[in-house]
Subunit: 146 residues, 2 copies
């Protein structure tokens, strides 16, 4: 098994981050503007990029501290069986976001692409809170010329 | 063991990337302006951030395709025993850079910080080539408020 891990610090309360991880409106501010289905445990969230994209089932929600999703469906194939978690912790005026995309079957070049792209989107989340303007798809920073 | 992996695509030839990985002048354009010691296999490269930072020994150089470093010294402690590799491949007008920071003893929050920060610096490398202006330390994007 192989994992992607990232950590950023955001100048805000944990609740401000939690809202951006648990509502369609919040998720639309930093990952993709085409997000639907966010809600309680058991919800299936549909993230779309030009009409296609992954679904995630909400597995666990601990207000202001943990969001856990399990990949649902078959797109992309390499994400089947993987989980995404967001762990929040507060230190002073900063909230740390520890991100993991876990349980990849193997460490592939596509995993490398996803790792870099997750960093881009997490910095978009940070900017969405700190500057009021994130860069969700289709306004995201491109990391290659594909 | 745990690994960090990233992949970006740069609109240039492999040689343009290779130069930014194997010379003080090139490395100073994207990681830290205070870089010294880059050279042939066996060289110890000293990367400094406000006077402190890691050393790496150059272990393997395959022109325009591979750069491999092994961590040297004891700073930071968690990097002892780790390796950093840059693999280059050319597809059309694009050069892919596959980056790995391998052989971490365990997956820690500090590893998460480093993973995000490596993404920031690799995007700095891409910008250095494509726009003529990277963001090496001390001009790097901050990912927290520490």
């Amino acid at each position: 098994m192989a994992n992607i891990i990232h950590k950023i610090g955001i100048f805000c309360s944990p609740n401000e981050v939690y809202k951006l991880l648990t509502t369609d409106e919040g998720l639309s501010k930093w990952w993709t503007t085409d997000t639907s289905g966010a809600g309680d445990v058991g919800s299936i969230i549909e993230f779309r990029f030009n009409g296609m994209g992954p679904d995630f089932e909400v597995i666990d929600l601990q207000p202001d501290s943990l969001v856990l999703w399990k990949h649902s469906g078959e797109i992309p194939d390499a994400w089947m069986g993987t989980e995404v978690s967001f762990e929040l912790s507060n230190v002073g005026k900063q909230t740390y976001l520890l991100f993991k995309h876990s349980n990849w079957k193997e460490q592939t070049e596509f995993m490398g692409h996803c790792s870099t792209k997750w960093a881009v989107f997490l910095l978009s989340l940070k900017a969405a809170i700190e500057t009021g303007k994130g860069n969700p798809h289709p306004y995201d920073l491109h990391i290659d010329h594909d």
